[in-house]
Symmetry: none
Subunit: 273 residues, 2 copies
């Protein structure tokens, strides 16, 4: 038995859009949600929905639009939720617990991870979540009202350029959903990911060269440079230390060592002629 | 004297869009950039630019569109840059160093943080950056081609839902720029450069080679390999892509390029005899 945090997000998290003016934004939100593995969308008094523009901008995420639920008020839309986070562009007169998107993701993950219903059996099925999280976004031009913000447990703020702080609605959903997905992936793969300081090395298709193989390349290089008259053994300077640092920094694979030695060999053959 | 990482990002990072089809996306990218404090935009063969649609979607970020530079090829657009990150939707046949957006941000920050030119005086002015970072995004429908991806030091991949992995272009820029801004803000808050794990944070004494300089080295290498009979131009195979990947991964400094070209020059001189 293991916990799938990605599945947990998709069943536990609902995006709630309040009084969205531009139906294209609803479509773009659906696409951003689906990209990040979210699927539950609720709309409060959308100006125009469903609409062709929303469908067009959703670019293949119509299933999220088709299953979107429409409500007459924020109260109804969040009624069955257990934890409500409201997107806030600015700090308000009445201070509220405020997260950045990363802190928000950590908080949401910790909430849904503690649900026993999220334990996944062999079929990767999840029960209806015990804890439903709502992420609430206000109207494009004005954001959530003070009254709406006060219906939230926490606020989340994207730390944007203070001189130009207003993100497009779907962009804000994208960033917050991205942080949720990253948090879930990091939880699932914490063992793996904690090791990837210089990423990708573990998925390298070629075997890394051994110290001895790199050493062989360096000696071959030195001999060639001397033969070429490029390196004076009496006054070697920093040439070889610099090449050593370069090749070690790059963490050469065996094929790369073979290529470089192949060139050196061809060079020595030509010079010998 | 202190280092402003937010300022460092804005002067050091350039977003490069290749052959963008929908001009609205260019506007949305400009808005996302400005929201995250980036300002340098380069366009390679945009289908339609400038355009009213781009201006409309930029929602007040016209200054970024107005100062955008248009180029005829990716080569020209990245020629003066020192470190190139390409957005990649999927893993390729020839594995390349791959980051997620958070790792990418750490890497970029560590690269630009070690520039002495970033020390800010009282007027918060910054010199022309010594290290220019390009973030390259391909055409909407197809992304970067394999050839374009091979021009990059590293690839960055947004860990999206595998069943629906293609983000809108501006959304991808938003996420990657958001991670850069978060990394910069966290650095400024913590004031702990020692916390950066990835290479580059240490003071590199040499100036990084530009893309053009590395390109010169690669052409010199190719010509030499052909002259040596090591590379058959009629059947080049993967020799040059592998050497390109190696040199780009290592992020060569100018001195290293000079050493390697010195060896090649000496080789060609000897063969010529």
């Amino acid at each position: 038995m293991s916990i799938s945090f990605i599945n947990a997000l998709s069943v536990s998290v609902t995006v709630v859009l309040i009084k969205t003016s531009h139906s294209g934004n609803i479509g773009a939100v659906a696409r951003a949600m689906k990209n990040m593995g979210l699927c539950k969308l609720r709309l409060v008094e959308p100006k125009n929905f469903p609409s062709d523009e929303a469908t067009r901008r959703s670019s293949g995420a119509e299933n999220i639009l088709n299953s979107a639920e429409v409500f007459g008020s924020m109260d109804e839309a969040i009624n069955d939720c257990h934890f409500v986070v409201g997107a806030s562009a600015r700090s308000r007169s009445l201070a509220w617990p405020l997260f950045n998107p990363r802190e928000c993701a950590t908080k949401v993950l910790s909430l849904i991870a503690s649900q026993s219903a999220l334990v996944v059996n062999g079929t990767e099925q999840l029960a209806e979540p015990v804890r439903k999280v709502a992420l609430v976004f206000g109207q494009e031009a004005s954001g959530l009202t003070n009254e709406e913000l006060q219906r939230c447990n926490y606020h989340v703020n994207i730390p944007a350029n203070p001189e130009y702080a207003s993100l497009n609605l779907a962009m804000a959903v994208q960033v917050i959903a991205y942080e949720l997905r990253m948090a879930a992936l990091l939880e699932e793969e914490s063992d793996l990911l904690s090791g990837t300081e210089c990423a990708g090395a573990e998925e390298w298709e070629g075997e890394l060269a051994s110290v001895g193989e790199v050493e062989g390349l360096l000696q071959h290089t030195e001999a060639t440079a001397i033969k070429l008259g490029f390196l004076n053994p009496a006054k070697p300077g920093m040439l070889m230390p610099r090449l050593r640092r370069l090749y070690q920094r790059a963490a050469l694979d065996k094929m790369e060592v073979n290529i470089l030695r192949g060139i050196l060999k061809a060079t020595l053959n030509q010079i010998g002629k």
